[in-house]
Point group: C2
Chain length 162, copies 2
DNA sequence: ATTATTGCAAATATTTTGCAATAAC
DNA sequence: GTTATTGCAAAATATTTGCAATAAT
């Protein structure tokens, strides 16, 4: 259990979400004969180690600090694999960069995006999800995914001098 | 009052939303010495006449059916002007195209996007907006705009044979 | 020995921009 | 007559892809 943050929440099986997702990924790759390369391992490590919402450039920067010969295309291809396996989720917050976060199927959350500093905060509000389901029912719309994002100014940026 | 749909809802001043927005636009353009050209008039007419959520290509197609010599760049530039004046709102629903709708400052609505046929339905749910404000308060976040979109399958597409 | 993967460069796709020609004021 | 606007082509931006070389199985 090296590299696991002390105090990370454990689930019933005694594993962190990240550990479970890594297991899912190994399974996914094994199932279709995908290979574990040095580059992939480096990118996947960078992704799992990161504070969330990394862009391709963020990831590449990190990975290249250890191994400068990793190419853009490999990062794109690896993150596409993670997305398709459900291990990562893609987000487009409107700054032109696709960002990735851990694909936690169980805990759904939405986002507050600060237009001043770019910081991204997660929020959960089950009552909104509930009302959302009611809206879907009203239109007999089958929801597959949703996006709920509030854009504005975070607390810290409000306090900064103009 | 030519070209106004019969039965369109009128506001206090006896004008439709579209009429009011056209007035706003005239004001906006006059204020900064922007000129009324044939191309702009054609694009603006196409935009106002349209069922909502037109892409640049949709607009260009319409405009070119009347005047084939209008260029892409002019449509982009005109829609940017409409967006900056608040007369149009931009949306990116994830299919790679920016779409535009009438910028109705008073009636806020959100969207259901069908992934099968691409249709876009608007919905309003004041209770969600209310809860959203509460979330913002909880994080002391100053909301400037928001995006709430449900992606899935619309009623019509659910009924279609697979 | 196979075949998935890599890195590069070229291709895509959408939007933006420089500039000379044109048209609105 | 000024100066905003147009249309074109080229640039910019983010992402994808073809392909020969490489590396994992």
């Amino acid at each position: 259990m090296l590299g696991v943050k002390p105090g990370a929440p454990l689930n019933a099986a005694g594993k962190t979400d990240a550990e479970r997702l890594r297991g899912d990924l190994d399974q996914y790759m094994a199932d279709r004969g995908l290979r574990s390369t040095e580059q992939r391992r480096a990118i996947i490590d960078a992704f799992f180690d990161s504070t969330e919402h990394m862009s391709i450039d963020d990831l590449l920067l990190r990975v290249r600090s250890e191994d400068p010969r990793v190419g853009y295309a490999t990062v794109y291809r690896t993150m596409k694999m993670l997305t398709e396996s459900g291990v990562a989720h893609e987000h487009k917050f409107g700054d032109g960069f696709t960002r990735y976060e851990l694909g936690d199927a169980n805990t759904h959350h939405d986002h507050l995006i600060c237009l001043a500093c770019g910081s991204i905060t997660e929020f959960e509000e089950p009552l909104i999800e509930q009302l959302q389901e009611r809206v879907a029912l009203r239109y007999r719309f089958l929801v597959q995914e949703h996006k709920h994002e509030l854009y504005g100014v975070c607390e810290a940026c409000q306090k900064k001098p103009a």
